[in-house]
Structures are given as structure tokens and as C-alpha cells.
Symmetry: D2
Subunit: 345 residues, 4 copies
């Protein structure tokens, strides 16, 4: 089968690989129908993710059709259309039973990382019963592709941890795909203000179209002041970091109000300055989280009830044969305007 493979040293390529086989009775083999590319895939290509060795098939998102199910799989059978969670969950370990699938002792984020992933014709899914979700007859698969990772991530790490509430004020720092997904899911809770902050006016325009009540271009270094002009000197109830660099996290520290929350969504590679000399008496909470995908069933319900349309994030479509071009388009988002690229079998 064809697969997109990380070759090490910043390189990737399409390779011919043997079709995966059931390795454990709880596995399923899924024939991929649609997949996409995540910012984390780019991190792997840069060599930033030590668990992903050269030779790895990339990808941890997608929908497909069950090709084969292991003998202990009871919830899925060949022919079932499925959504693949980016997080593999055994359903048995202490973390799974605390609903922290991200830290599953026999799973977590392993797809396209410690084991081969979804940017291929077929993928092996361990612990299929607790890592796949049914797509119903007649449903378009497209929106579900974005429920593998980006929507549960924005919702769990940003919206839930940020405790967004009716009437509250929210600032979302970063209007890339994950920030935009946060803007969409934040509206589940009817906040009064959603302030989107980014350096790219085009993304801010999309943020506005997606429901931001205010947008701030932070290129001038005065975003904190601009936020406090909107909220009054108190600041926001929730500040969501959706970039992953020290400057944006510190901006969150400046704008969060007493009793507020900073919900980190970004993937960080560096230490950040925590200004406890200001914050120790400010009654704030700072949260971090690798997505657990515990909210996936809920997200599916909101999509089916037309409360959420994830497909709004899709800007480009490619066939799997053109996956190299899909990577180029996605990597060069500033120029191409790519948010999420859909890759179809």
C-alpha cells in the first residue's frame, strides 16, 4: 500500500508498505477514506518528537472503513465506517478509568508517532473498541475527520479547561486552525466576549466570521493593552493559549483577571516565565492538557444536532496520491491560507 513516511532529517516521502495485519485480538485494520495533516506532523518532520523514529508512517486523524476486526473486538465489524481517535485508549488502565486517555499506559498519542499512522491506505488501530467511533449510515464523513484531534483538543484543552460560561469574557491567543476551532466550540457556552488575537489579519477576519466578537492584531506588541480596553482593567475570565511559544503564554498572564483561568492548548518546546510575583494573589488557575478525546461522543452529538460545523475549517482537498503537495500547502499556510487540508483515498 501507499503511505506517507517520515524519513528523518526533515524528509518525508511516499513509500510502498505492506498492508498492516492484526497483531492483537483487540486490534482493527481500517481502510482509510479521509485523513488530514496536523501541526504535530510538522513537528515530527523537524525532529522535535523523539518517540517518532524515521520510517514511521505519519498521521493520527481520519475516517475509514473497518477491514478486519480482531477476535476480541465487539463493537465494530468489517464494513463499519469509523472515526479514528488520535488517542489510543485501552479502557482498562488507571488513567483510562480516570478518563485521562491521553496517559493510557498502553496507548495515548501513539498513532503516527510510536506506531504507524493514518496517512496511508490502511492503518492498524490498537484497542479498537475504545479508540474508534461509529459514523452512521448516510452521514457525510467530512466533518468527522476533524473530530480525531483538532476539535476535541480545542474543546477539552481550551474550552472545558477554560471553564467558559454564559456571559463570560474569553481571549483566544492564536487564530490558526486550533484557535479557530476553539472559537467555534467556545460558543457552546455563550460567552459575552470572544477576543481573537493573532498577527495575521486574514486569520483574524476568519476568526470574526467564526464568531469572535473582537479581533486584535498583536504585531504591535500592544495586545494586552487592547484587551484591557475591551474588558476594562479587570481583564478576561478565560485566556486560551493556542500558539505554543513563551510570548503568547506571557500575554495570557497579562490579561487574565482575578478569579480567571489560563487554559494552555499550545505545544511548547521552551520554558516560560511565570510571573508569580504578580499572579500569586490573583486567584487564577493555569491548566495544561494533552487531549483525552473523552468529549468525542459529545462532539458527535453536537455535529449531528447542527450546533457545530467542523468542515468550516477545510480549505483544501487532495487525493492521497498528492499527499506531498498537501503537506506543502499546509506547511506554507501564511501564503496558501490553508487551515485544514482534506486528503481523500
Amino acid at each position: 500500500m501507499k503511505a506517507l513516511v517520515y524519513l528523518g532529517g526533515g524528509n518525508k516521502g511516499i513509500e510502498d508498505r505492506p498492508k498492516p495485519k492484526i497483531a492483537s485480538p483487540t486490534d482493527a485494520i481500517v481502510k482509510m477514506v479521509k485523513t488530514t495533516i496536523c501541526g504535530t506532523d510538522l513537528h515530527i518532520l523537524k525532529g522535535d518528537v523523539p518517540t517518532a523514529a524515521p520510517g514511521r508512517i505519519l498521521g493520527h486523524e481520519g475516517v475509514g472503513v473497518v477491514e478486519e476486526a480482531g477476535s476480541a473486538v465487539t463493537s465494530f465489524k468489517p464494513g463499519d465506517r469509523v472515526l479514528i481517535s488520535c488517542i489510543t485508549s485501552c479502557g482498562k488502565c488507571e488513567y483510562c478509568r480516570r478518563l485521562m486517555y491521553s496517559h493510557c499506559v498502553d496507548g495515548g498519542w501513539i498513532l503516527g508517532n510510536a506506531i504507524d499512522g493514518t496517512q496511508a491506505e490502511y492503518v492498524r488501530i490498537p484497542h479498537a473498541d475504545t479508540s474508534l467511533y461509529h459514523i452512521l449510515d448516510g452521514e457525510d464523513e467530512t466533518p468527522f475527520v476533524l473530530c480525531s484531534d483538532i476539535f476535541p483538543t480545542s474543546f477539552e484543552c481550551g474550552v472545558l479547561n477554560g471553564e467558559i460560561a454564559p456571559g463570560s469574557s474569553v481571549a483566544i491567543v492564536g487564530a490558526g486552525p486550533i484557535g479557530l476551532a476553539t472559537i467555534l466550540t467556545a460558543q457552546f457556552y455563550s460567552p459575552a466576549e470572544i477576543i481573537a488575537i493573532d498577527v495575521d489579519d486574514k486569520r483574524l477576519a476568519i476568526a470574526k466570521a467564526f464568531g469572535a466578537t473582537h479581533v486584535i492584531n498583536s504585531s504591535d506588541g500592544k495586545a494586552a493593552k487592547a484587551v484591557l480596553e475591551i474588558t476594562g482593567p479587570r481583564g478576561v475570565d478565560t485566556a486560551i493559549e493556542a500558539v505554543g511559544i513563551p510570548a503568547t503564554f506571557e500575554l495570557c498572564e497579562e490579561i487574565v483577571g482575578p478569579g480567571g483561568r489560563i487554559a494552555n492548548v499550545g505545544v511548547h518546546g521552551k520554558v516560560v516565565a511565570l510571573h508569580l510575583e504578580n499572579l500569586w494573589a490573583r486567584n487564577v488557575a493555569i491548566t495544561t492538557r494533552l487531549v483525552d478525546t473523552v468529549s468525542t461522543p459529545m462532539l458527535l452529538k453536537t455535529i449531528r444536532a447542527h450546533k457545530l460545523d467542523p468542515a468550516r475549517l477545510i480549505t483544501h482537498r487532495f487525493s492521497l496520491a498528492d499527499v506531498m503537495q498537501a503537506y506543502e500547502t499546509f506547511s506554507d499556510a501564511a501564503k496558501t491560507g490553508a487551515l485544514k487540508v482534506m486528503i481523500e483515498a
Copy 2:
């Protein structure tokens, strides 16, 4: 009347001052019976608290007897014995109505800071109805003195924010008075392990007597390793910072487990390194808080039900006339072994 006054430049002295008067119909004048000294008083003396100007009568803790009540005070009358909260709460503003008395727009921590305090024969208490608590007939006042500040602080900032739960593991970094009060109130929730960490073996011995299940002397710089030997590689459910310096906060970052919490109690004067490059995917929460004293009614109930004995922290007793000596004893705790010093009228 006699009062202990901050003179600026590291100095303090006993001065003769006029007895305070009712300034607003919601004020009460309280004749002090017992007070104590807080680590924050030492911070003021060092010049670290800009809101506390030279000339200020220090002290924000204590019990006394109502001498006079303003015309709008309805819950207290002359002769009532009262506990004084370290936090003044108007009961009306947005923060008070969100139970964040610490950020009251006409209160907060002002006693012995922005207005004259309790280390004197009399003190004026603004918003008396919502800043005082009744001491019942026949009750010994002694334990209540420690409910002005140290016990609500340790309980709210440490135990409540740390979400200590039955069977959980807790590390308390710092076994000074506030850390020891945290050890006592943590036991309200029956954690399985309470690990006390300090550099002073004498304090660790007290920690053990107060209920710590393990003690670690961190002088050798290997405290994190020692914690992980106790808990296994996962770390603790709750790490409580009760010192207020970067090193102890960073120790909390090293020992908190996935899904765990770091509850900051310490007063910090410097920026701290937040290792988001490790913590971003660890599903942790970090909380800060200036005590709100919303738990005071609950703490009084636990004392009256003999579930908590705050007086265990009292090591020395002085008369108000000897308050200068009380400060010396309290300041030189390493030598004197002082935890809390009781100052009686």
C-alpha cells in the same frame, strides 16, 4: 493607646496612638484581646509591601471584644467577642458576591497594610458585619486567633485548591507555620500520603507529629527523587508550595503527576520558570490565591467539633507590652523554634 508601628527602613516601634473612631456606619471598633504576628508583617518591615506606608500599625489577625458598632452594623453589638478576618469584605461588590473577598473593591487585605491593624489596644474594622465572626460564650479565644489568616490561607489556597481527596497523595513543600497548618487541614480529606518537605529537621519532626506520613529533608537537592521513590514514578496528586521562592515552586513542577495539581500558597517576589516543555501534555492545574476567608465559618465548625486544634501551632506567648520581643522571637524562628507567637492584651 499602645500600638506596634512600622516606621519605615526596616524599623518598628511601640507608639502611643489615639484610639480609633467609627468612620463609617458599617465600622466597628474592637478592643483587642489576642493577636499574633504573620510572615507578611516581616515582609512589610523589609519594605516589600508598597501599600503599607511608614506609620502604619501592623497586624491583621486577632480576637477581641466589640467596643462600639456603627449605626448600620446589625450582626454585632458592644460586648460581643469576635474573630477578626484578615480580609475585609464589603459583601456587596462583584467580587464579594462571587465569594472572592480577597479582591473586594472596598476591602481585601487592608488591615495592617492600607489601614491600621490589630497589633494595638484597639482597631477599627470596616464592613464589620461581613468581616467579623462571633466567638460563643465560654469558648477559649486562643484557637480562633489562628483563624484570622493562617488556617483559612492554608485551607483555601492549599487544601481546597489542591483538591485533596480521600486516598490521594500530597506533598507539602515547606514545613513552616503555613505548611504545618496545611498538614493539619489536609487531613479533613483523608489523603493516603502527606509528604512534608523542608530543610529543617526540627520542623520535619513537628510535621510528622502533625500527621505527615513521610518527611524529606531537601537540603541535599534530591527531594524530587525522594518523592518519586515514595509515590512511584508517577508523582503526587497534589503538590503544595508553602515557601514562596522559585526553587520550591520548581520542585512542585517536578513531582506533580499526570492529572495532578500544584496549589501555590507562598508569597512570591520573583518570576518562576514554568517548564511548559514538560508540563504542556501532563494535564496539570496550577492555582494561585490570596485567601478569601470564605471557609472561616466552616473552620469554626471543625474547631467546635474537635476536628482541628489550631492552637498546636502556638509556641510562645507574650503580652502586648512585649510585642517587640515577640517579633524578635518570631523573626528568629530557626533559633527559637517559633511557629506562631500569641500576643495577649
Copy 3:
């Protein structure tokens, strides 16, 4: 001044009364601008509310202008436009400090009940600082009139206690004014299904226009079956009782699913059969509540952010001089189609 007075024996009339005076330094006198009639006013007229004696001026809702403020009132001054809470809160007692203003020991629901109310030219508001809310310059008062009682009631007793969540299923039994307000505020949390149940097709049509995803006319006694056809045999996550009679409460018992909640909003006069023989193992919660109006500040924010338009409930408008006719219209809702009637000074 003119006032609508309960005369006992089912009778009411317009009387001339002296303008109220400040009785306590925490009182304010408010000149009424707009008021409305509540189902509870009809209960009083029927003699069902023993605390409301003949001679009482009715009404516990409305907006007005502060005419005079007692000497201890700090947040309001003459000329301020204000929303009057139906619940009087002293801000000091144990219940107020637990955010249960409904059980305030010197307040609660007393307006138009134990003391004279708002269906008059002027009203005395005790504990003004904690029982009034500012209306901002330039704002239309109309929607705020419905924030005195009906919107906080539907939101707190129904939506909050029902723990409505994104993607969840909700049944609201009763599509009168309170049920309709529940339908509007339920949408703050983006449930997947909102099933409105009533015996009146006209009200069900409004329910649908207000956001109900399904409507069921329960006249045939088969509403439970109809709900289970929508949700599957499991039933709803939240069943909200918004009528106040045994039959509708028992319907909630039949349709609530495992792990679900029954949130009672209705005012009940009779004992209800609780089928614990079915429910003991069903992991349900049943909640009751007299509105606390703690959500009022939040509701004002959602109105200002255009997330909620309470004025949609207003069907008729009268002058205070025509208040008798307003009562007739409101009482005969089945014929007049009245939901909320606005009474203007």
C-alpha cells in the same frame, strides 16, 4: 400613589396609598417605570400564599428609578435606573454568604408578599445595595423587567440545576412563560434536543419558534412514550418540571434516563408520588429551588451581548392605570395568548 392591592377573598383593586418612606439606612425608594405580573401573584389572589395578607400591594418584578437612597446605601443614588430583584438579599447572613439569597434571614421572597411590592408608583426596596442592579445609560429597560424573576428562575431552577450540557437531551414539561424562558436559556449550553411538552398547541408553536427541537402535545396521556421515541429507550438527560402539579412531575420520573436529572421549577401545592421502586437504581438527581437571583449579573451580560432576548415573552402592554385589565388578560392566558404583560408607569 396608585397601587394594585390584594384585598383578600380572591379580590384585588387599585387603591391610593401613601408613598413609601425609607425605614432603614439600607433601604431605597424606587419610582417604578415598568412592572409585570407573575403566576405567583395569581396564587396570592387565590389565598394560596399565607405570608401575603390582605392589604398587600402586589408585585415583585420591575425596573425603575431610584428616588431616594438610605444613608448606608453606597452603590445606588437618586436618578439611577435599576432592575429590582424579586429576591431581597441582606448580603450578610449565612445563606446570603452561601449564595442562597432565597433563604436570606432578612429577605428572600418578601416583595409583594410579606411587604408591599412593585405594582405601584413607588416601592421601598430593603437591602438596596444587594437587591438592585444598574441599568446602563441608553439601555432599553424592557428586557430587564423579565430579569427580576422569570429569567433567573428558569435559568437557575431549570437550566443550572438541570446541568444542561452541549449535546445533551432536555425535556421541558410545560410551555407557559416559565417553560418558554427555560427553552431560551437552555440554549446557552447548546443541548442537542430540546423537547417541549404541553397541552396547548399554540404554546407548543411558540416553543418551536423559541428553539425547541421537538414538541409533544401531552393531551393524549402518551407523552412519555413520545419522548422515548425521540431519545430511544434511555430517556432524557434532563427533565424540567415547569408546571407544578403531580402529573407533570411524574412524567419527568418516567422520561429521565440513567444518570439524568429532574429539575423542578414549578410551584407545588400537593404531595407527589416518587417512584423510588423504579428510580432507586437509576442514578438520578432531583432538585428543587426557590430562585436565588445569583445569576442576575450573568443574565444581564448575556442580554447586553445579544445572546438572550427576554422581550420575546412580552405579548401585551398596559399602563399602570389599566393594571386591572392587565390582570384579566394575564389570567385568561388560554384565551388571550398572554405570556408576559408589560405594565408601564
Copy 4:
């Protein structure tokens, strides 16, 4: 093998049965070491549990040694000592993933009910990985037997649902085994008052020894009055029903205070009168629950940390050969004083 079998018509007997076999790859066969009898077993014998057909081996509690593990079982192997949960959990279904194992679509309470149980030499445990818990080397099995059912039941249905908190007041109606287990686990949260109510002075004496601060013999029908004399007219914060009849539930309705909770633990066979005419405005919550056993890992930690000693409930010990006599002793508790009887292989 020998097994205690329900014969229908109120009868039971010891029968010879074939040793159970693995029926599914997720099963384990456990050789029983210790088991006990539950009040529910007596209900089955009376014919009150329609899912339990004549011929059923009774029992849903116990510890044993894994004899054989199915091919898909990964957490347990032959020779492992295990605690058997009374609730079978597949770990995969919607309810299991919401931590409501009680409603597992392929489990729930089935042991000794819909499938053969633990009062035998061997038992087949479906979904072994998610329905068994390890007993560590060197640990005495005795206390763990009571963690199959009675301790998680009292803790989850009573203490957790009752939201017992430090300083709060709790009334526990019924001082049988489940009420006594509730008294023990309530103390995890340091309530100020634990009021035990029963008609049997001997049980009340045990309640007192177990930590009740007050005991009330309700034989005179004046228990409500006696509770209100202890708490003041407000009533208790938490009332726990641990009997299962209308009278005791209604007693809970009389003594619960504003803002309080009624947590039902009892198994009810009859409709109960819910006095909504009093409770609608009282801001109470009423909860029901079939134990989920989600707290089992936590309970094991508290036992290992010596915060809980379940063995205090054991009053009699029998060999499996004498299980008929064990039933007699347990059934006739009023005379024998039996609380929990231990049955050992």
C-alpha cells in the same frame, strides 16, 4: 463444586455444580477464598428480584485467586489474588465510559443475579480486566471482601452523593451494615455532626463506637424533632436513607435543611410520598444510585493507608460448608447481632 443455590419459592440449598469454564476471551475463572452475604441475597430468596431465576448460584462479593484467564485478559493471570467487584463493567460502552458501571450494557449487577455468583468454590467473572482488582502480596484479604459491594455502596450512594464536607451535619437513617459503613466512610470528609438513627439500641451503640456523634432511637416516632434539637430548626446538610422504606425516606424529607441533600442508599420496593409542597422552595437535591464501584481503587488506597478498617463490620465467620448456617445467622440479625458474616473456603 459446592455452591449455594437459590431454589425458588423462598428456598435455597447447597448443590454440586460443574466448575465454571471460560466462555469469552475476556472472562476469568476465580477460585473463591472468602465471600459474604448481602441483604440483596435475602431479597432474591424472597422472590423480589425477577432477574434472578431459580437455579442461580447466589453471591456477588468476595476475594479469590485467579484460576484461569481468558485469552484477551491482560491485567490478571493465574495465581493472582483478586477482589471481585459486585458490578461487572465492560469498560467500553457509553455508560462505562461515563463511569456509570452500574448501567453497563453488558454488565452491571449480574453476579449472583443474572449469572452465577460467588457463594461457590469457583466463579466465572466476565470482563475480568475491568471487574477485578489486585490484592497485593502479604495483604490480608479479609477487609477487601467488604469492598466488593457494601463499602463502595455506602461511599458512592451515601457519602459522595450526599456531598459530605468538613464541618457539615449528616444524619444517617438506618444503622444496619450499610448505614454503619456509611458512618465509617463519612468520616473521610470530617463532618461536624454524624447523627445515627435506628430503632435498635444495640446498633446505635455500634454506630457511636464507629464515630456517630449523636444517636437517636426512632421507635417513638419523634426522630425528626430530635434531629432538629441537635441541629437547630434548620436541619441537616445531608440526610442519608439507608433502610429502603417510605417512612425512613420521609424522615429524611423532614430533617433536610435548605440547600441540603437527601442521598438514597436503600433498596426501595414501594412508591414514596415526596412532599414537594414543602420542598419545592427548599433548594434541596435528592439522589439515587446503584453503586458503580468507581471508587474501589480509592477505597483500597484508604485501607492500605489505615484510614478505613472495613473488617470492623465482621461479626461472624463460617466455612463455605456451613453457608446455610451463615444465612440463618445473617437473616436473624436482630437476634444474632450479625452485621457481616465472613464465609471462607
